[in-house]
Amino acid sequence: MRRGWLVSDLATHAHSAHPPGFAHQFEDIEQQREAAHLGMWAFLVTEILFFGGMFTAYIVYRSLHYPAFEIGSHLLEVKFGATNTAVLIFSSLTMAMAIHSAQTGKSKQTVITWLILTMILGATFLGLKLRFEWYEDYVKHIVPGAYFGFENQWGPLGGQVEMFMCFYFFMTGLHAIHMVIGLGILTVLVIMTAKGKFSSEYYAPLEISGLYWHFVDIVWIFLFPLLYLIGGRYIPH
């Protein structure tokens, strides 16, 4: 196989048949797909370290103030955390199915259905979080802000419990912002699919957006045990 293009090739190439979405600088669609994947993973590596900074800070403070973090963790409702984990895992499946249907040349309607299902599940996650968790926390004054304080309840440990709640809100908040951005990306994908931009040859935007969506899922997979399940939930003997 010949590698590289000559100037004379570019002219003929521009008119020759190639799948829509194929960029001329690539040798073939396979190379283009690989480049897109690699680029997206480079971004995700920066995201690992972005969230990693928070996880590192969490690990340090948890090692310093373990008893207070246990108290703080028990203020959270496991049932909502577990439900949301299941919802997010389900949305990862529907996202994988959207890519699968594009890959196997299914109709636009099928791809859009899977994408919209993913969006509904993502919105369900955010809805549950806002209505049953953050709103309830706001009512109970355990949100950093006005009337936030645990000194009356736990004395000297109070400040450290506050620290846990700050970690909880900043980590889940940052995760939720990523979910909202994900919903925006999915909206764009639905429009692109409806316009017929993708084929069984070219669907890289679906794939790399899927990588992002699954990454956000992974962050939650770690947030759930680290925030909701500290020190177990059994009744102490």
Binding site: H37, W41, I89, S92, L93, H214, G232
Partner: protein
């Protein structure tokens, strides 16, 4: 050099694999939640983290197609986690080997005695 299915970013994964991974992830979520209600002492945290790690592997390998990715992509992914490990290890190496004062005295507590001592 490599297994036949590896080395192509285009790989049609059967739906049954996706559904299987999904069911495994759901089962592991139920397991990690259930185990939290059993008293294992310090092992509650260990079990929770091991399960989270297995779940991450399932998502990365199957949903994110790293199982069928090129070596270059795999190295990049490993780099991400390696650098995260560096950040956590070095930070803890510093943090856990310091001798902390139990009650920090704060700026006022340090400066006022210092000034009195000097003048």
């Amino acid at each position: 050099m490599s297994s036949p299915e590896q080395g192509h970013s285009e790989h049609v994964v059967p739906v049954s694999v996706y559904v299987g991974v999904f069911l495994a992830l759901l089962a592991l979520t139920a397991l990690t939640t259930g185990v939290a209600y059993i008293d294992l002492g310090a092992f509650n945290t260990v079990v929770a983290l091991v399960i989270a790690f297995i779940k991450m592997l399932l998502v990365v390998l199957f949903f994110m197609h790293i199982r069928w990715a090129t070596g270059l992509t795999r190295i990049l992914v490993l780099c991400g986690f390696f650098w995260l490990a560096i950040m956590v290890t070095f930070t803890l190496g510093d943090e856990l080997t310091r001798s902390w004062q139990i009650n920090p005295v704060g700026w006022g507590g340090m400066i006022v005695p210092l000034v009195r001592h000097l003048f």
